[in-house]
Point group: C2
């Protein structure tokens, strides 16, 4: 009597179900080392933004200690990371009054969670809740360094001091915080250096105003991935926040902060069809797997929904995901290029580099972790979403 041996199939890029999210751990570790080395030389701490990875496993590789410091964009991130032992946290989105109770509950478990705000109303609400709870919630005043989004312009001395005075009625002013979001649209190294200096100078100026008025302002927190990599001086800054540098993406490559082969994140897909008259290859990864992010549309090189690589992560010349439906990706040669359409039979595995790592990762519930020169999936790191 014969029977087939039962063999366990080792998970690899060739047999894992597609679409799925692939993380090249070697590239990620290299990206982390690069920024850590840079910030060590500039003499400031790294407070990584965990909104990109939303994974305990990834967070532990990027943080300088298992307790942080770290930055989060939602209270759910704060709760999940705190439960995993990350206690030094800033919630870097403006606090709404109805969320303060949840902050207090998490702080009562021992997490040192700080909030961010830029109005007197918020400061009053935080101070009031702090008094009621007998817990002075640490708060950062958000500074607007480039008109990108929220924050107090550092020259608005009166408003800055009104917020600080309102906080003093029960809360704890921990410092100032700014984010040079406009740096994502900067053109060239000089422009990036200027963004970084503007970010630094704004935060330092605001801190000086507060200190002159008698407020201790121990932390001066700045950061964005482009400015973190281009700052020439961080004098007066105590910490840098950055998130997407862990994985990098096509938008960051377009800005000039990284090279294509630094991008650690990709979506693994499978070829499911061809429309040869149109020069199209169809894949089972559409916008649900890539996200709807078209961040490179405004850049010099429009990468469509992503740059297509072979299974080992090597880009095919000028092959992009030019359009996407929910579960279909349409792959074609970039408009204007004479590169040949590669022959990718049905069933061929491909990897697609994303425009925006934060958006693409958010479409998936786990990272399939690989090393750079190996098809084997070494680990599966869960990630979470939601609020």
């Amino acid at each position: 009597m014969t029977r087939d041996a039962v063999t366990w199939e080792r998970p690899t890029l060739k047999n894992v179900g597609t679409p799925c999210l692939i993380l090249d751990r070697d590239r990620m570790d290299r990206n982390i080392r690069r920024l850590r080395t840079r910030l060590d030389q500039l003499g400031v701490a790294l407070r990584p933004h965990l909104k990109t990875a939303k994974s305990i496993d990834a967070a532990r590789r990027v943080m300088t200690s298992s307790a942080g410091p770290a930055t989060v964009s939602t209270l759910k991130e704060a709760e999940r990371f705190a439960a995993a032992g990350v206690t030094d946290l800033i919630y870097a989105v403006g606090i709404s009054p109805d969320k303060i109770e949840r902050v207090l509950v998490l702080r009562a478990t021992g997490a040192d969670l700080a909030v961010t705000l830029d109005t007197v109303e918020q400061a009053q609400a935080v101070a009031h809740a702090s008094r009621q709870a007998g817990d002075p919630i640490p708060a950062f005043i958000e500074i607007d360094c480039d008109g990108h989004r929220s924050g107090v312009v550092p020259g608005e001395r009166t408003k800055l001091l009104e917020i600080a005075h309102a906080l003093a009625e029960g809360a704890s002013l921990r410092g100032v915080l700014t984010h040079a979001g406009a740096s994502y649209g900067a053109d060239g190294d000089d422009a990036l250096r200027a963004c970084a200096e503007g970010e630094r100078a704004s935060a330092v100026k605001a801190a000086a105003i507060l200190r002159e008025a008698g407020f201790a302002c121990p932390i001066v927190s700045v950061g964005s991935t482009p400015t973190a990599h281009f700052a020439q001086s961080l004098e007066g800054v105590t910490e840098v926040r950055a998130g997407v540098f862990v994985f990098f993406d096509l938008v960051m490559a377009g800005v000039g902060v990284c090279q294509i082969d630094d991008i650690a994140l990709s979506v693994l897909g499978t070829v499911i069809g061809h429309q040869p008259e149109k020069g199209w290859i169809l894949a089972d990864a559409g916008w649900m797997a890539m996200s709807r992010d078209r961040g490179t549309a405004k850049q010099k090189v429009d990468q469509g929904y992503g740059l297509v690589c072979d299974i080992h992560g090597k880009p095919f010349p000028d092959l992009i995901m030019s359009d996407a439906n929910q579960e279909h990706g349409i792959l074609s040669i970039r408009s204007g290029s004479n590169a040949p359409l590669p022959d990718l039979p049905i069933g061929t595995r491909i990897r697609i580099l994303p425009n925006h790592a934060c958006a693409t990762a958010a479409q998936h519930d786990a990272y399939q972790v690989v090393c750079s020169d190996d098809d084997a999936i070494k680990a599966v790191w869960p990630r979470f979403g939601g609020w």
Copy 2:
């Protein structure tokens, strides 16, 4: 000794955590009734596409029976819905050979799951696997009715018959299937009627070719939300697939398939800041809550990342989410409008209608279900994602 009474706070739009996804069940039910009535009059069955809702609770309201029929876009949807008793299923994305084993496993549990394909290679792979398993997998040949994506052009008689012959070696040809994806870009009612007629005629023509060659082709399946609402005749068609009609969205309103007040889905957010000099209101719902979908950017009325309403779902004149970061939405008056910026203090609750219901819903793990004229949250319907 006195103590406060412990009161349970009934969940409402005013106290639920934000951002979250709100589903107006009254509007949804009305949308379902409208299409059902229409298709009953045209004498065809409705096979709803469950990729929009990805919720058992929503599926049960839209399907004509608890067992289906229904359409899915991923095998995970097939597995989840089959586990809930939905057995009549079409997986309407081209099958890749490595997914066939998973189809067979699900079919072995009793689900009548059919696959879709448009190449001889796929047909051979499905026929081979069917023979090996002793289970003739039902298959649809996908027809390209408008050059939108995948499928065989109905005039390609030779290719159609080659696929049918390849399937005959073990699988089961169940019919033809097409999707008028180009209808999303149609301009005006006449253009929509023409899309619907083109979709119908293509599928019927392909079925006729197959039947003339001796292949039974019992099912002729067409569908998209715009064509389902504009078809004048569905002669020769046996079933209609449509998905987004359940919720509708701003893209569908822009196409002219629904009115703004038919849109059943919205994201509830909270005001967290102001930049009065710029005319901006900041909210705690950014692209993570809305998705990166900018489907109205190509339409006559660009709705940004969504149209902003009050807590009851009534739109503020010309107030849109004009830009979005991960967890920040920037609300402002539409360019060119003279409408006043409403006074929305910090903490104000707002609801934002989405560009694309499928994409926005996918950013959330549950629906908070409400009725049209009531703030109370009546139910929480979980939804799933992934593959």
